[in-house]
Each structure stands twice: as C-alpha cells, then as structure tokens.
C-alpha cells in the first residue's frame, strides 16, 4: 500500500539571508506598503479571535484596513487563548540574569529540537520585547513587584527568568487586551464582527484566496463572504484526540478545508503532550484540564519506588519515593521540557508505578515548597490552581499531593507558511497555532502566547501589506462560479450528514477516533502501531459516513451538526498525522519513535535524513498525499543532541 508520494522540494521560503540580526528589519524595508488612503479599500477576512486573530484584526483595523472578523463562539473574548495559564516569554532581561534575544532564539530553536526555521525564530525573539510593551500599554495587569516593576519567573525548561505572567490567568489577561483593542476597532467601524459563525470552506479564485463560506450557527444560513486576503487564526487541532486541554469547540475545519483547497499542511504529527494535567476520572470525561507548568517550579514530581504501592502518599517514607525527574535529569530536574517530562511520566506508569485510578498518574508534591517558603507564599503563587484542582478532584493539594498525567495540549504542526506567514495559496495567511512555524517539534512553555501575539500584532500586519500592495483584486461576488461551487459543496455536505440518520452519535465516533490516536499516535509511536492506526481510522471513517446520527435540522442552531462536520474533518487529518509520523522514522521533540532512541531511552534525532519540514499536499480523496520537503539549515545554532541531564 502506497501511503504517500514525494513531490518537488519547497524552493523559496522568502526567508531573507545575511546577518540574522537584521533580517526582519531589511525584510520590512523591502516590503511594499499600502498607502494609508488606500487601506480602507482593501478588505481582509480574519478567522478566529484568539491572540493571533484578535490581535491581527485589531492591528489591521487600526492601520485603516477594512477587516471582517469571524469566530464560532458567542463573543470574540471566548477564544481558547483565554485558557492559557502560565505566562509569556520575552527577552527583556529585566532580571539581569544573562537573557538576550540571542538566548531566547537559541533556547527556542534547541527546545524545538532543530525542526524550526532559524529566521522565523530569531524574529519571534526580537518581537517578544515589543509585545510586553504593547500589552502593558493596553492595561494588561501583569504581576508586579513591590517597587511597581514587572515580575518575572522561570518557566518550563528555561534557565533564565523571562516569563511575564498574570497569576495563573496570563492567557485570559492577554486575550482580553486583544479583545478590547478589537472592540475598540468595532466601535470605530474598521472591523465588522461576526460571532457565532463558522468557516466551512475557503473560496479560491484564479489561484488566490478571496473568500470563505460560513454557516451562521444560530440560523443555519450558509453564505459567502469576500476579501482581498484571508487570514486563518483558527488555532490547533489537539481535539483530534477527543480528550485534550483544548476547548470543546476547537477544531481543524478552517485549516483542513484550506488544505483541501491547496494549502500545504506541515508536520502534522508534531503534537505536544503536556506533562501536568489532571488525570482522567472515568469514561464520561469530556475534556482534560491543564495545571500550569509553573507548578513544576516548586512542586516535586515523584512515584513510589515499589510497583503498585497501595499506601497513601503521606505514608510512603522519603527513601521509598522516586523523584525520577531529579534522578534522571539532575541539572534540569523538575523543569525539563514538556516532551521529556511527559514521556518520563509515561515510562514510570508503564513500569506499574503510577498512582491513582488505573495507575495513570504521578504525584506533584508541594510539601517541600511549603516548608521552604511557607504556606502563605505558596498560596499566593498557586492559590487559584490549587482551588481549581480541588474543584475538579475533590482533593486539597495542601493535604495530599496533586496527581497529574500528560494530556494533549498543543499542536506544533499546522498549515505551512513562508517568512511572510503566507501559505502556498497566495492571499491566504496563517497565524498562531494554526500555522506550523516557530516551535519546531516541541514548543517551550510560555512560547505560545508569545508567538500568537507576535504574529498578530507585529508580523502579519507588516507582511500582508506587501501582498496587498502588489496584487490587483477584481471584485468577486456571491455569483462567481468558484463561490457558488464552494457554497454548494458545503450545503451538500451538511445535507449528507443530516441524511445518514444512523445509530451512533457523533461523540461516540469522536471518542473512538481519539482513543486510536492516543494509543498509536500519542506519546510513543511505532511503525507497526501507525500502520494499524491508519487501517482503523479508515474503517471507522467509513462507518461514520454510514452510521452517524445527526439529529435536528440544517436551518437552526444545531450543535450536533457542528460537531459532526468537525469530526468528519478530524478523520481526514488523523490519517495524515499517522502518515507523517510513520514516514518520520526519527524521534524528535513531541514525536517519539520507539525505533529511534539512544541506549538510555532518550529521543534520537536523525538530522541527515530528517532535517526538514514535511509539508503535505492534498492530492484528492482516494489519492495518497504528496510530501514536499523544506530543508532546514542551521547557521547560528549548532546542531546538537538535546541533553537536560
């Protein structure tokens, strides 16, 4: 069975050459600008209102463009960026602890296990500094010290304190800043807001992205909307696993539909499994909740030394506990990057030393921190997280250690974009988690907020002008054949889902798909398992299209219909993820292939054969996808095997 074919490599990423420090400056200077008077004649659709989409829509509106912003939630303020807890990195070096743009760049390239583009990452590190300034000016209430200056902390794998935070609600505060800036533009008339609308297809005219097909989630009406450029800021696809830390509505539909229209999908198998989540409590579980990684700054991770130890944690003496992260990784200890911490937890649970229901959990213990810092100091830092944990589990972390287990959290893969954040479809730009860039094979803590806002506030608004200034944009209307066809295809698909009238619910399929993905394309992947997964996914997908039952009608608020469309797209994505994971026979970052490990069981990269971005082309429904490689060159960060020991 041929699972994929290989096409031409990607020739041009538009990444500038020359000294890396001045690449972004030079690129901006060389980009064409749109005259301020002409900007209001240029229309941009932005799909998604999280950090990347909300910030982009607000900034483009401020610049004078005519922006149309879409989100599926009832308000742009609800986008899932809001749930990010820990913080946002920036190379301010306010702590005078040796941080710099160069170091943030270095840490991010290395943390991403050398699978990201150096030029992009350097720019991200440069722009990080401006983000903090911008957010403070908007009134984002970051944590401060008694002198009134901003506080910082060290976070997930960093040896400097460069993370800015707002208690355990940094994402919320940053998103509200972007949301408020967006609402200011709505009031100013530059942004048209369309909440409770879901993008169901992309309209491509003469090879350029010119519009979208949307469904009004209240009335069910399917309409088309047009622009000179389309920005997808629709987030990641972690919900392909059914259980993840994503919001229930998070989905791949916008980017997947664009992929089917010609946009390459890059590194879909690079998935981040976050080490500190609350373990599943039963079959009814509908989502998993993250406990901020900042907890690892003061909490110590351990399991009993003895397999299946039945004792309560408090009854297990110190010398019978295995603080395995501190033992295996003495220099980073509990602060090793996410991929390493997650796999280590899986390994100890696989050995039978896991705790809690089903043995799928490890302890995160604050007893030492309380002794060292005092109860009050620990409560001030983590109080809201402790409360959240207690609300969900019914256990107080002050009394018994928390139990945590890894869960799907973030997807590094996404639509392929060049240095301008433009996809392989001209006029289609992709920002934030929806694109693949910057994080390589593993994202460091507090870097998602940084990238979302970098793309939205500073990168895209500068790069999109080059496209808008050069193109001619013939008006496109709802009667254009490409628009009619796209709308018709969406209507047909909706009707088809409703007409199956089978005997299984959408959720039952989604759960089963998620289980396949978790078992075979989760923390550890093998050739055999991935081949099996592809077979299982295909079989289940066929069954879905024969047996799914979607109640209600098309012309109404119908949440089951919304879910059905999203799950149908997850089926197609799931197969591509497995193909990508199967073809990449190395281990790197969030992608661990059991066949490729060091004698100590650490991930073993293969730079010679896999030092590239795998960008996949949709070749049709029953045709294998086509692989296009973007070679990665490392001129500034020396290729090395990651070691946190």
């Amino acid at each position: 069975m041929t699972l994929f074919t290989e096409g031409a490599p990607i020739a041009d990423t538009k990444a500038p050459d020359g000294p890396i420090e001045t690449r972004w400056d030079r690129h901006r200077f060389e980009s064409k600008l749109v005259n301020p008077a002409n900007r209001r004649k240029r229309t941009i659709i932005v799909v998604g209102t999280g950090l990347a989409g909300g910030a982009a829509a607000a900034t483009l509106g401020e610049a004078g463009y005519h922006v149309k912003s879409y989100c599926y939630q009832d308000s742009p303020r609800r986008a899932h960026s809001i749930a990010a807890q820990g913080g946002i990195n920036a190379a301010k070096n306010y702590r005078n602890d040796g941080d710099s743009i160069q170091r943030l760049f270095y840490d991010t390239v290395k943390g991403g296990d050398f699978r990201s583009r150096e030029s992009n990452v350097y720019r991200l590190a440069q722009v990080s500094v401006e983000i903090i300034d911008q957010c403070v000016a908007q009134g984002v209430p970051f944590a401060r010290e008694y002198g009134g200056l901003l506080d910082n902390r060290s976070f997930g794998g960093a040896q400097v304190s460069r993370t800015f935070y707002a208690r355990g609600q940094t994402g919320q505060q940053l998103l509200l800043g972007a949301y408020q800036a967006l609402e200011r533009q709505v009031a100013a008339g530059t942004v048209e807001m369309h909440a409770r609308h879901e993008m169901l297809d992309l309209i491509v005219v003469d090879g350029k992205a010119r519009g979208i097909v949307v469904r009004d989630l209240v009335t069910g009406e399917i309409t088309t909307d047009f622009a000179d450029a389309v920005v997808l800021a629709s987030g990641g696809y972690g919900n392909v696993f059914f259980l993840s830390t994503n919001a229930k509505g998070c989905n791949v539909t916008a980017t997947w539909r664009a992929h089917r229209k010609g946009a390459l999908f890059a590194n879909p198998c690079f998935t981040q499994i976050h080490p500190t989540c609350i373990p599943q409590s039963g079959e009814h579980q509908s989502k998993l909740t993250l406990m901020s990684e900042s907890l690892r700054n003061d909490g110590r991770v351990w399991v009993p030394k003895q397999k299946g130890d039945p004792r309560k944690p408090g009854d297990i003496p110190e010398d019978e506990r295995d603080y395995y992260l501190e033992r295996i990784y003495p220099s980073f200890g509990n602060l090793v990057p996410r991929d390493i911490a997650s796999r280590a937890a899986k390994n100890v649970c696989d050995e039978g030393r896991g705790v809690g229901p089903g043995g799928l959990g490890v302890y995160l213990d604050f007893a030492d921190a309380v002794e060292r810092l005092g109860q009050a100091a620990v409560a001030a830092k983590y109080g809201n997280l402790f409360e959240m944990y207690e609300r969900i589990t019914g256990e107080d972390p002050n009394e018994v250690p928390m139990r945590i287990y890894p869960a799907v959290h973030y997807t590094m893969g996404g639509l392929w974009v060049d240095y301008d954040l433009q996809s392989t479809i001209p006029g289609l730009f992709v920002t934030g988690e929806a694109n693949f860039s910057d994080h390589g094979a593993n994202r460091l803590g507090a870097s998602a907020l940084m990238q979302g806002l970098a793309d939205g506030y500073f990168v895209l608004p500068n790069t999109i002008s080059d496209y808008l200034a050069t193109g001619t944009f013939e008006p496109v209307g709802a009667d254009h054949p490409a628009a009619v066809e796209a709308r018709y295809a969406v209507e047909r698909r909706v009707a088809r889902l409703l007409n199956i009238d089978g005997d299984r619910t959408v959720d039952s399929f989604h759960r089963e798909l998620g289980r396949i993905m978790w078992d075979y394309c989760g923390m550890e992947r093998t050739d055999e398992g991935l081949r099996k997964a592809i077979e299982l996914i295909r079989g289940l997908r066929d069954e879905f299209w024969r047996r799914v039952k979607v109640p209600g009608s098309a012309g109404d608020l119908n949440q089951a219909l919304e879910k059905a469309g999203r799950v149908a797209d997850f089926f197609e994505l799931a197969e591509l993820m497995c193909v990508d994971a199967l073809h990449r026979t190395e281990s790197c970052g969030g992608h661990f292939r059991a066949e490729s490990q060091t004698p100590e069981g650490e991930a073993l990269r293969d730079d010679e054969d896999f030092g590239y971005v795998a960008a996949w082309e949709w070749a049709g429904k029953d045709t294998p996808p086509v692989l296009h490689k973007e070679e990665l060159n490392f001129e500034y960060v020396h290729l090395s095997q990651r070691s946190y020991k």
Partner: protein, 249 residues
Amino acid sequence: MNLTLRIWRQPGPEDKGRMVKYRVEDVSPDMSFLEMLDMLNETLTLDGDEPIAFDHDCREGICGMCSLMINGSAHGPERATTTCQLHMRHFDDGDTIDIEPWRARAFPVVKDLVVDRSAFDKIIQAGGYISASTGTAPDAHAAPVPKADADAAFEAATCIGCGACVAACPNGSAMLFTAAKVTHLGLLPQGQPERRERVLNMVEAHDDAGFGGCTNTGECTAVCPKGIPLTAIGQLNRDFLKASTTSSR
C-alpha cells in the same frame, strides 16, 4: 446516582418555552454538570429526540461561555464556581434539578438554554479599553504601578463575562460587569487619560442595551464565579459622579 431534571426547552427566540422533565441514571459523582448533560444528550439523540442546546466551550471555568440557572441559582450551588466546573458530587441520589437559561431583558433566549449576550460586547465597545494602537507603546517599565493597585486591577480584570451577575440581579443589571472593567482600567496609570469618558460612555451603553439599574442588592457578587467584589460598583459610582460633575458633555 439517579436524578430527575426539569429543563427549559424553547425551540427559538419567538417560541414559547416550557419546562420538560427528564430522567438520568447512573450519574457518576466525578462527572461535571455539563458531562451529565452530555450523557442526557447522547440518550436523547439515540431516542430520536433533539438534544438540549447549551453554551459551553473551555470547560475549565475561564471562557465564560457556560451559563445555566441551576435550581434558581446562577452557575448552581457552589461558591465561585462556573457551571462547567460544578461536579455532580455536590448533588444527591434522587434529587430533582431545575435547569434554566439566564433570564434578563438584555439577554434574549436563542434556543433552549442558549442566550444572546452580545450586549456585553457593546458595553466594552463604548469604552472598555485603553486606546493604545499597536506599536505606540513606551517601554513596559516606563510607568511603575504600585503592587497593591496592580493586584486590585487584576482582581477586577478576572471577570469572565459570563453574565451570571445579570441573571442573578432582580433588576437585570450589568453593573458588576461594567464596574469590573471600569475598576480594572481606572486603577492603572495607563487608563487615566480616558477614565472619565470611559465610565460615562460605558454606563450609557449599559442602559441603552436594556440592562436595569443597580439597587445594591448584592446578588451579583454572591454568584460571581470570579468573586468580583461589590466594591467595584462603589468605585464605578465614584468615578461616574466625578465624571458627571466635571464632564463637558
């Protein structure tokens, strides 16, 4: 445990709604309230009935999308807890639970338990922001903020915009929501230039959206999942008074 649910069903905004009784069996105490409703919806779907529409998204108490009146209390019986974070261990076997949508003039019902809260966005549009266009910001350390002010601003800024305050208020007032934003921005040095216009414009938008006036009953703060204190409304009133007497409007 086994429960009886009485749930508000309303096909559309113009239709008449009614309470409908359902039985749910084998509910696990570890389920969240919404997972219990998921279970009911699975059964309804397979039985050929239309599932119950309710708003939800993050299911971790931060997006503000979930919104249910549970036994007459916004977000249910637990203090400082959103519906999605409420777990069934707080109910007993055999209980009857009433589930209704937010009820307020400014929040019309869309379907079943889903309401339209876009009036909140209109209040923010009227001035719930600091005008700082991208790229215009000075260095983040240019204006130190006393820690006490920063902490108080943060407390007010934790509002998730769920609308429980409105649903609980006998007047259907959104004063706690409005006051939280006025307080958050008004405590920061960056928020000073627009402070007076902000409070006047936001209160005007609040009234225009059909929210009622505040009579200090305090139901809002009692149900607020983020514990926004009533003192925020005091702050709004002080700012409003000051602005009204000095504004050129």
